[in-house]
């Protein structure tokens, strides 16, 4: 789509270990529309956090971005020299990391930490303007101006996480990545932090990529969801459709495994175990656990295809009417 702000194509990130390459992200393709809230869900090890880090180009050895492309507003991020990428971080694309609140420097006051972030990324403001900017940032994330003069240990977890959000938005990025931004917080505080994040995103008109495993949070938060399994997207759907009529068998079982606070006993686990990324199952990675598996699922890797407008699924169950198209595509590739 031409109107996409961020375009990720066939992204591959591998971690090289002694026992071989761990294919944490193995061909992920999706786009982010302007001002959209996109949720990326998956279990631990599905590669969702690695995607977020790769978009920031923060993958460290033994991890390596093996291929694919990331286009942000027409700029190809993976091809930029490190120095230019550095200036884009925070200015164009910012990350609120998992447990970000623990990334604050314990011996530096909040004000200085925000100022440092702005200066390090090339924001030139007079001393007075910078101080005013810090206060307006704190106000934006719902914190009292007193907080500027405090040390991180004087703040609660929720307040620290808001400070991290303030830092993330200090240069008005176009894309905000939030990786489990509330995973260490209690539910009441979690809700406040999420509300803050949403409000800030709306004010900036930024696109938001929320990475996480909490389907409840996603349901409340995202307009579109991408479900990851074993390093790939298996389904991308508008959030209502995904919850009401999930297409991919894994998504179906995932939705069915969610306990409810209204109705008892209506949830069940997914049989089997998550796959090892070192020895990815042949064909579709989900086939050993899939109740609908067919013989070809162990052989053929399903491709993510649009099965109805805006709904993309990687599963052979949805091949039938498109078999010819998929077949020609494979031949063309070969």
């Amino acid at each position: 789509m031409a109107s996409e702000l961020l375009r990720v194509d066939d992204l591959r990130v591998w971690y090289h270990t002694r026992r071989g390459a761990v294919k944490a992200v193995d061909g992920v393709t999706f786009g982010l529309l302007p001002a959209e809230r996109f949720g990326l869900v998956g279990e631990s090890g599905s590669g969702k956090s690695t995607v977020a880090l790769a978009l920031m180009r923060l993958i460290r050895p033994p991890g390596n971005i093996e291929g694919g492309s990331v286009q942000l507003d027409g700029v190809s991020l993976l091809e930029l020299p490190e120095e230019q990428m550095r200036s884009l971080r925070l200015a164009s694309i910012a990350l609120v990391a998992q447990g970000a609140m623990n990334s604050l420097n314990p011996v530096v006051r909040v004000r200085q930490q925000i100022l440092d972030a702005m200066r390090d990324h090339g924001m030139k403001l007079s001393k007075q303007a910078a101080r005013a900017h810090v206060l307006s940032l704190l106000e934006q994330v719902g914190l009292h101006s007193d907080v500027a003069d405090r040390f991180p240990h004087e703040l609660s977890g929720g307040m620290k996480q808001r400070v991290c959000i303030a830092i993330a938005i200090c240069l008005r990025p176009k894309v905000i990545l939030a990786d489990e931004p509330t995973s260490a917080l209690d539910v009441v505080v979690q809700r406040q932090v999420m509300d803050t994040l949403l409000r800030v995103q709306e004010q900036l008109g930024a696109s938001l990529l929320l990475v996480g495993h909490d389907m409840g949070l996603m349901a409340q938060f995202a307009s579109r969801l991408g479900v990851m399994y074993a390093g790939r997207l298996v389904e991308v759907s508008p959030v209502r459709e995904l919850f009401a009529a999930p297409r991919h068998p894994y998504a179906k079982l995932l939705i069915a495994s969610l306990p409810s606070l209204e109705e008892k006993g209506a949830f069940r686990g997914i049989p089997g175990l998550p796959p090892s990324l070192l020895e990815r199952p042949s064909g579709c990675a989900f086939h050993p656990r899939c109740p609908f598996a067919m013989p070809r699922c162990a052989l053929d890797d399903p491709r993510l295809q649009e099965v109805s407008p805006n709904t993309w699924v990687a599963c052979h169950l949805y091949d039938r009417d498109q078999q010819q198209v998929a077949g020609t595509a494979r031949v063309a590739q070969a």
Binding site: E43, M159, R191, G216, R240, L254, I255, S257, P259, L273
Partner: protein, 366 residues
Amino acid sequence: MTALLEARDVSKVFGGGLFDKRVTLALDDFSFAIDSAPPRVTAIVGESGSGKTTLARLLLGLITPTSGQVLYDGSDLRSLTRADKRRFLRDVQMIFQDPYEVYNPFYRVDHVLETPIREFKLASSRQAARALIHESLQAVGLRHEETLGRYPHQLSGGQRQRIMVARAVLVRPRLIIADEPVSMVDASLRATILESLRQLNREYGMSIVYITHDLTTAFQISDAIIVLYRGGVAEAGDVDLVVSQPRHPYTQLLIRSVPRPDPDRAWGSAAVREAAADEPNEPIHIEVGGGLLPAEVTARVAAQAHGGHLVRGCSFADRCPFVMPACRTDVPPLFQLDGARVAACLLYSAEGAALRSQQLSEVMSA
């Protein structure tokens, strides 16, 4: 009837050193009795700092109360005879939060299953021991050929946690205390582990105390629930009643804050947002008199002088949208409401009879 395990007027403060005047009140005058018949699942729900883990450790005798007693079959945990202590260690089993830390990485996982068999002489021969292990693994949905003989790092977190549940099956305790058993396990495996806990309760007649921060799973597997807030009981009773019609303002806030996995059920109203502010859920810190005595001792004396309480007023008063002047000065007792439910909130002082904290179990088992 003597309860299997009972906390009676238990308070726990964690004090600083000799001259430290500040103590942290982790649990304030808590009483609850757990019976093994009929076997029930009781959830203890609270956010961080609510005292739920302190309670688990007190019930297991891992720490001793500052005031009050924990009783096993009527005798104080601190003064059990050798034989009783042995019985206690078998009757009450623990499942911990982190399925990574309970294993010794140098032993195969078989070790955690073989040890209790040897220790409690559960089997008369090697063959009988094997059969017992296989049976207990099967009970939690694990295949022994895929589990035994492996080292902990070769298994997933979900498998490791299920082995801990299998271990509990093996020992056949009367009570299992499970502290956040699924918080580190992926969603797809969570349901399986909770189901096997539920099975222990139904098929093997074990009572379970399920300690968690997650209201949804508590609702799913328990019969009764105790909601803790900053060291005290906020609301307790029949789980369906408490979850579907919470009465304590804190429970209401908590339930409205749970993100429902349903895009059409929006997060609750904006009013809660204001009420919640950014108050940390920290345990209560109290200044007790200075002097040469350790703060913990001073706190104990002070608590006895003040009818068991070290705090003034309701600990939720600062966040409560319905706060009244009396809430700042009086510690709300447990008021009995609609039969099998109590709430510690002065809003209900006209509606229900005030109970002594020890009467909580009577209401809960009604």
